[in-house]
C-alpha cells in the first residue's frame, strides 16, 4: 500500500492504494466515479480517458500511485464546463450516441480537440477521434456534433 493524495474534480482525496491499481479502477471502485469506462485496458479503445493535470490521459494506463499530487478531472467534474455543456447539447441534438459507453471519453476528447483548435474540419476531427472507439454510431453523428459545437463556440467567441 502506498499513501497517495490526489485532487479529483476539485476535492482532495487521500488513500492507501496498492501500486498495481490503475487510476481507472481507483476512480470507479474507490470513488464510485463510474462515468469513467473501461473497454480494452491497454490504451486502444479510449473509453477510460480523463484529464490528468488538464491534459487527456488513459486512466487504464496510469497507476493511481503515479497520480500522487496530480489533478484528475473525470466526466463527473465537467458539470460547470461551458464547452462540455455545448457538446452535451449537440450530442443530444445530432444523436451522437447510442449505447453511450464511449460517450464520456468522447466528450472529454472532443473538448480537448476544440480547446486546442483541432476541430476545424471533418478530417481533423476524425484524426483526433482515432483513439476513441465507438461501436454503435459509425462516428458520423459524433463528428457532426463536435463540428457544430466548434462552430458555435467560434461564433460566440467572435461576437464577444
Amino acid at each position: 500500500m502506498t499513501a497517495t493524495r490526489v485532487q479529483i474534480n476539485g476535492a482532495t482525496i487521500a488513500d492507501d492504494v496498492p501500486p498495481r491499481l490503475s487510476l481507472a479502477d481507483f476512480l470507479r471502485e474507490r470513488r464510485n466515479l463510474t462515468g469513467t469506462h473501461l473497454g480494452c485496458e491497454h490504451g486502444v479503445c479510449g473509453a477510460c480517458t480523463v484529464l490528468v493535470d488538464g491534459e487527456p490521459a488513459r486512466s487504464c494506463l496510469m497507476l493511481a500511485v503515479a497520480c500522487d499530487e496530480r489533478e484528475i478531472t473525470t466526466i463527473e467534474g465537467f458539470a460547470a464546463d461551458p464547452v462540455v455543456a455545448a457538446l452535451r447539447r449537440n450530442f443530444h441534438r445530432y444523436h451522437a450516441l447510442q449505447c453511450g459507453y464511449c460517450t464520456p471519453a468522447m466528450l472529454i476528447t472532443a473538448r480537448d480537440l476544440i480547446l486546442r483548435q483541432r476541430a476545424g474540419s471533418e478530417r481533423e476531427i476524425r484524426e483526433g477521434l482515432a483513439g476513441n472507439i465507438c461501436r454503435c454510431t459509425g462516428y458520423t453523428n459524433i463528428v457532426t456534433a463536435i463540428s457544430e459545437t466548434a462552430k458555435e463556440l467560434g461564433r460566440e467567441a467572435s461576437n464577444a
Binding site: 498495481r20 480517458t49 491534459e55 494506463l61 476528447t109
Partner: protein, 275 residues
C-alpha cells in the same frame, strides 16, 4: 486485464534510481509515462517486482538548446514535441512525426526516453532519431555514457541499455537551414503502430544524409546506398538503390507485401527530400 502485484518507489534523484536498479538487478523496471509498460503489465506480458518511477525527476524533463544541437530529457513527452514546447532541432520533422504517434491521450504521458528504452520495432522515435544521428546519453553506476542512436536499438525490443542503466537524455544535432526531410508512416488507422515507416534526412551543409526504415522486423534499417544517393540529389537510380538496400536486409525476412510497403514508404519519404 489487471496488472499483477508490484512494488513502487519514486526515487529523489537519478543516482538513486540507478542504485535501485542495480540493487534489484533484472527484477525492477523503470517507469516514466508507462504508456507501454502499464499496457504490458495489464496484458501480463510484463510482471516486474518493482517499478521505479522517474517521471518527476526535474533533470529528465529539461530541454537545452545550444548552437549545434538540442538535448531533450528522457521524460519529455511526445505531446511537448508535437506542440513545439520542447525546442525542435529538426526543422519540423520531430513535431510532424510526434503528431502521428498513437493518440493525444497517449502522447501527453508517453516519453521519448521510454520509446527508445522499449524500442518497439514499429515505434517512431528510434527510426527518426537514427535518421537525425542523435546520441542517447545513458546513466549507470559508472556514470554517463553516450550511445549513437543508430547503435542503441539492437533488435526487436532489444537495446544497448544495461539492466542497471537509465536513459538520461537524447542529444540531437540541429539540421541546417537548407536541410530537407521526408517522413511517411503507413498504417490502416491514424495512431496505430506503423506497418511501414520511412524517414529521410538530407543535410548537405553538414554532410549528413540518411534514409531509415522503421517497422522493419528489427532495429531501424538504414538504407545506405539510398542515403548516399540523396546526398548527391541523385534521382534516377534511387528506386533501384532502395530496392537493393531493402533486398540486402535478408535478416529481416520481409515477405513480398512488406517489401512493397517499405518501398512505397521509402520512395515517398525520399521524394519529399529531393528537390
Amino acid at each position: 486485464m489487471k496488472a499483477p502485484a508490484v512494488d513502487y518507489i519514486r526515487p529523489r534523484s537519478l543516482a538513486e534510481a540507478v542504485d535501485l536498479l542495480a540493487e534489484h538487478r533484472g527484477e525492477a523496471r523503470v517507469i516514466a509515462g508507462g504508456q507501454s509498460l502499464v499496457a504490458m503489465m495489464n496484458l501480463r506480458v510484463a510482471s516486474p517486482a518493482l517499478l521505479i518511477d522517474i517521471s518527476r525527476l526535474p533533470e529528465l524533463s529539461s530541454v537545452s538548446d545550444d548552437n549545434d544541437g538540442v538535448t531533450l530529457g528522457a521524460c519529455v513527452t511526445h505531446a511537448a514535441v508535437e506542440d513545439g514546447r520542447a525546442a525542435d532541432p529538426s526543422r519540423g520533422l520531430m513535431p510532424r512525426a510526434a503528431a502521428t504517434l498513437a493518440y493525444r491521450a497517449i502522447r501527453t504521458r508517453g516519453t521519448i526516453g521510454g520509446s527508445l528504452a522499449l524500442s518497439d520495432p514499429a515505434a517512431e522515435w528510434p527510426a527518426i532519431l537514427t535518421a537525425l544521428d542523435a546520441e542517447v546519453m545513458v546513466r549507470g553506476p559508472g556514470g554517463l555514457r553516450s550511445i549513437r542512436c543508430a547503435e542503441f536499438t539492437t533488435g526487436i525490443f532489444e537495446t544497448g541499455l544495461a539492466t542497471d542503466e537509465v536513459i538520461e537524455n537524447v542529444r540531437i544535432p540541429k539540421l541546417s537551414p537548407d536541410a530537407r526531410w521526408g517522413y511517411l508512416k503507413l498504417c490502416r488507422k491514424s495512431g496505430e503502430f506503423a506497418s511501414a515507416l520511412a524517414v529521410a534526412v538530407a543535410d548537405r551543409a553538414r554532410g549528413h544524409s540518411r534514409v531509415v526504415l522503421g517497422a522493419a522486423n528489427g532495429a531501424p534499417l538504414v538504407l545506405h546506398e539510398t542515403s548516399r544517393l540523396i546526398s548527391e540529389n541523385g534521382r534516377g537510380e534511387v528506386r533501384e538503390a532502395a530496392a537493393a538496400d531493402i533486398g540486402h536486409a535478408a535478416d529481416r525476412h520481409f515477405d513480398e507485401f512488406q517489401r512493397n510497403l517499405h518501398m512505397v514508404a521509402a520512395m515517398r519519404a525520399v521524394q519529399q527530400v529531393l528537390q
